[in-house]
């Protein structure tokens, strides 16, 4: 393996600061000053995602979790900011890096953990695992394991919204979350073209954590300013600092509003940095140690904490209590998941089809499909 190079600073041509902590240029939809409760709430969600993901990594190492396991570590501010902007009537589609979105959208952490454990109390009954969180009530219509596979269905969900309702400030919209790597697949371009052509109420959020597995954005995308990639489809894009939940939230609110009211599909690119490997089993040797060090310096969770402390919103006692609460939630999630029953073999064919089907080939391995 070649020596890891330092990553390029994002957006060298435009000079835009990838990690600026300023508000987005649009400035639209800025909430009035956030209340201390709101800010503490965001921080608590960020800490919850952080602690949940660290615990998931630990449980994976202890073989409680199988398969692939991709964590949102380093993306907590993005997750919380996006989910703060998403309204109950909206639909959410995500990539396989979905635990944080599932939790902050409203799924119980213990049921998300139970899904990771492959138990009956998991959010999809242990059918999907880490990459496939889903809750129809919460309109979280799935984490998707195929890179960018969620883009066409998310676009179709927006088509269904346009089919059955009129634009309005409280209209439904779709938020489709994808990673930087997904911007290079055909389905990205086909979906953007359809959304642009048909004027669909959808916001494509490119969570640019600057690495598609081990390949940096500048080694994968001829246009590394990913927010510009909608230009061919007349879809406006904006890049914001994904380490700041308030900046992310306000940019997402503005984008969602245009989707709702103008039926203008939008791109929002959030810049963050994955704190760990692509998945739990990836030691991430392709990263330059300086980058890792810088990422630690920019870690969004302590940064937001410092800001709240500075504003007098969060004192040490409150911080301590908050951490204690989160740790308890996560510990209970593990206990719950551990205690939840494993699915029984008799349930194997339960969800083969949505309808009653004549002549189902429901045979276990080695069984004949036909009696003599």
């Amino acid at each position: 393996m070649a020596e890891p190079k330092r990553r390029e600073k994002a957006n060298p041509q435009t000079g835009a600061q990838p990690r600026s902590r300023t508000k987005p240029a649009s400035g639209a939809n800025q909430a009035p000053e956030d209340s201390p409760d709101t800010l503490r709430g965001y921080y608590e969600q960020m800490v919850l995602v952080r602690e949940f993901e660290l615990k998931a990594g630990e449980m994976y190492a202890r073989a409680k979790i199988g398969g692939y396991c991709h964590l949102n570590l380093g993306e907590e501010a993005t997750v919380v900011g996006l989910m703060a902007a998403l309204q109950p009537q909206d639909y959410l589609f995500t990539s396989y890096r979905d635990h944080g979105y599932a939790i902050v959208r409203g799924m119980e952490p213990r049921r998300v953990m139970a899904e990771l454990f492959g138990r009956t109390d998991g959010v999809v009954g242990g059918r999907g695992g880490s990459m496939h969180m889903f809750d129809s009530e919460l309109r979280m219509l799935g984490g998707y394991g195929i890179v960018g596979g969620q883009l066409p269905p998310a676009t179709g969900a927006a088509l269904a919204i346009a089919y059955r309702s009129e634009p309005a400030p409280d209209a439904e919209a779709v938020m489709c979350i994808l990673g930087d790597g997904a911007t290079n697949i055909g389905a990205f371009h086909e979906s953007l073209n359809l959304a642009g052509l048909w004027k669909l109420p959808i916001v494509y959020v490119i969570v640019n954590n600057q690495l598609g597995m081990g390949t940096s954005v500048d080694r994968a995308s001829a246009e590394p300013d990913l927010y510009k990639r909608g230009a061919a489809y007349r879809i406006p894009g904006e890049r914001v600092n994904g380490d700041d939940p308030i900046v992310v939230r306000d940019a997402a609110l503005a984008a969602l509003e245009r989707a709702r009211v103008e039926r203008q599909p939008m791109i929002l690119e959030t810049l963050s940095y994955r704190l760990r490997g692509h998945s739990v089993v990836d030691p991430a040797k392709y990263r330059h140690p300086d980058d890792v060090e810088e990422a630690k310096q920019n870690d969004p969770v302590p940064a937001f904490r410092a800001r709240l402390a500075e504003q007098g919103v969060l004192d040490d006692a409150a911080e301590e209590q908050l951490h204690k609460d989160v740790e308890q939630t996560v510990a209970e999630a593990v206990d719950f998941a551990d205690a939840s029953p494993l699915p029984s073999e008799e349930e194997l064919f339960e969800f083969s089809y949505a309808t009653e089907v004549a002549n189902m080939p429901n045979a276990y391995p080695g069984e004949p499909v036909m009696a003599r």
Partner: protein, 333 residues
Amino acid sequence: MSEPRVITYRQALQETIRAELERDENVFVMGEEIGVFEGSYKITAGLLKDFGPKRIVDTPISEEGFVGAAVGAAMLGLRPIVEIMTLNFSLIAIDQIVNHAAKIYGMFGGQSSVPMVIRTPGGGGQQLAATHSQNLEVWYAHIPGMKVVAPSTPADAKALLTAAIRDDDPVLFLENLALYNRKGEVPDGELVAEIGRAAVVKAGTDLTLVSYSRGMVTALEVANAFDEEGISIEVVDLRSLRPLDRETFCDSVRKTSRAVIFEDDMLSYGVGAEIAATIGEGAFDYLDAPVRRVAAAEVPLPYAKPLELAALPDADDLTRVIRETLDASGFRK
């Protein structure tokens, strides 16, 4: 009920789509050239004028995009009927069909069904060469979560398309260019098939002939010719490849003791292979001769007519194999 009318397979499809659009406002049609152009094979002729662009959606050439969009629209409760110009082009959308449409219900614990239909013609014989002449239906019939139906008559086209549109699971609805102009009796009024049921379309006692879609035309022609010799062939039209009605053709073989499968597709790993294996399980003790398959030669289908004809299975091939099967069991009239 009034007398059945004699209409073409194409008309049966046209009328069924129209009736379902009128019945349920969640039904809509999308695909390439289906609106202004009225469909590459005119199945959607006249629909744009009567139902408007919201329900009859012309798409750009983006099979992965619009098939996947149908998946998402179906998840929100719409019932898209997607036309893919030919089955060959479904390969461009295969991730959305196999990894999404077919998986979403089961993988997400039954929380969201995907009620969509993909209508598409397959098959060779039109001098369209290798990439435009394939029978890929078995690729989809291999996948749990998918349903694959393949009507051979106008009446089944109506009954199965109605059923497919009303079904809550994703259905690949296989058509065939050579069937569009074929005529048959179609009952008026509501006609809904049960997906997953084969039909014995000609009763017989001496040999079971199994086929589907365009293959049924040749199968019936050959079976009827054998009648004149006093040889009685039972013909089973599968109608659905997934789920597969194994009972019906196994029952038939238990009666006739001989089986031949006729398919337009390549032989290896095909529909015939699945049926032969099933007969091996379900009717082994009744067989008087090995189960035979008549399928296409395994080459990329050539353009030149003599080569295309040589590659595709026809009535002569089928007649020969039926005679060999009868001879192998010492059958004497």
